[in-house]
Symmetry: C2
Subunit: 333 residues, 2 copies
Amino acid sequence: MINRTIFFTGGVGIADTTTIAGPKEGEGPLAKYFDTILEDDLLGQKSYEKAETKIHIAAIRHMLNKTSMTAKDIDCVFAGDLLDEMIVSSLALREFNIPFIGLYNACASFAEALIVGSSMISGGLMDRVICSTSSHFSTAERQYRFPLELGSQRTPLSQWTVTGAGCTMLEKYQKHKVKITCATLGKVVDYGVKDANDMGAAMLPAAMDTIKTHFRDTQRKPSYYDMIATGDLGDAGGRLLRKLIKEEGIDIDSQHQDCGELIFNREWQDVGQGGSGTACSNIVFNSYIYQQMLEGKIKKLLLVPTGALVSKTASLQGETIPGIAHAICMERV
Amino acid sequence: MINRTIFFTGGVGIADTTTIAGPKEGEGPLAKYFDTILEDDLLGQKSYEKAETKIHIAAIRHMLNKTSMTAKDIDCVFAGDLLDEMIVSSLALREFNIPFIGLYNACASFAEALIVGSSMISGGLMDRVICSTSSHFSTAERQYRFPLELGSQRTPLSQWTVTGAGCTMLEKYQKHKVKITCATLGKVVDYGVKDANDMGAAMLPAAMDTIKTHFRDTQRKPSYYDMIATGDLGDAGGRLLRKLIKEEGIDIDSQHQDCGELIFNREWQDVGQGGSGTACSNIVFNSYIYQQMLEGKIKKLLLVPTGALVSKTASLQGETIPGIAHAICMERV
């Protein structure tokens, strides 16, 4: 580890990816890249929480089917979600006879899963793992903001939690087309944002800190990458990131895109600043970005999932909202 | 990895441990082993959540002071707690300029921290890490059961969430007195328990599954260990574990103790079946058990933190409570 960056010298390859997207995500610009698009985000369940659990289970099951694997072939699932006590992941993993390590860094949990999973494989401790996360607009709204039934007006800087789930299967590197080569770990950064409806502003300082640290640790420049994809800063947050990081001498204008912006068409989809949620960077990477890498259109990617470490209780007690972001470098072989 | 067991062949040593215990824990039988005992579990804060955050911060700070380290010397903190959105760990880590990976498997989160931390070190990805968790009786009661102000009567099978926080510092093995040698990962096990006041019953099947798997994977017998310490099954849960596992031909009567039983004196402390919480197995191991290992009284330990994957929302929606348990083997060199 050089400062905050781990190099996966043992070799980590991506074996396959799966995605399930909600109906609204399925109307967005990435529709053709998703494996499955739901017609109804309640899936005939009695609650949205049960529906999210079903989606999470389906993403893992689809991965096993797609790769013709059984539970025995998987050493561990590294999973997370946004709900209190991470109940969706816990109930989803009940369906599989596979070890489970739960991870939580809010919307950056997908990054944690990729980093811990890659470390296990690079270090020779595991042979094959699944990294999975999920989120759901309706479960997140109820938990973090207002019950949908209230019909509350949304604020201009709010974002739209992505409904979906996705998986990345990692293996010891061996002729895979995409490798995970290194990762820069994030630390908690708090610039004093208090508005639970402006997650982009809360996460942006953490994204900036991690990206700067990544360039310092690796001695790379932004031009090393074809794409630097943040998780869910949204439109305003993304623009602010590019502006502020340029003031520090790092120009990522030509490489930077935000998964929250990519997943929706903000012009006609009413999504505020764009997408967010534990599924956001996950299903954008596991569908569109991974496909671009397979086709060789993106050769070097820095994926930077971002998380707002917000809780209702802490907000009610006057706490500000810290953020965290981890960066993962992937390369087309 | 052999089936569900990882062997840390790269060598992992315990550099030091720290513990902070609440006032009630400080009146229990392990009092003399804790580094710090709080006189007031509110610590002059405006809420118990803020108090728990202070305790978590203090445990990490104490570790840095005790070992004369600074943030720069630590590659990562692997941390967790019981509160919604793991807000205590997130706010605690805001105080340190150290990478943070949040882990959640309820009261088994301390096991996850030890396993992921050990894997990072054994695999050569990190040199020195801190594993920390916390819990607090008053924050857990408010969140999982009833506000204390209601004065609700406690049920006979309930347990008492431990107030405290503790840290284990792990390093590449080099003359340390205690080594972490292997770990058996847990999977989610659900036998259909629905009573949120009977956590022991909910976690017991997972503990049993993990212990049985550990003996199968390592081809060891219970006599290999001087102590098999489960996390927080409590008195009834612990007795049931010993009985049921014996019926499957594994007799752990002479080795088994439960951290939830060790931490309180149930005869005169009103704690139901005993202690529980993310801090339970943590501060019992990091104080009493670690001291016994340093003194050579326990040479081989199997620590099995147990977690009940319960959420208010899921319980209200009629879900049962699955459990998970991970086993970590430590040896006195």
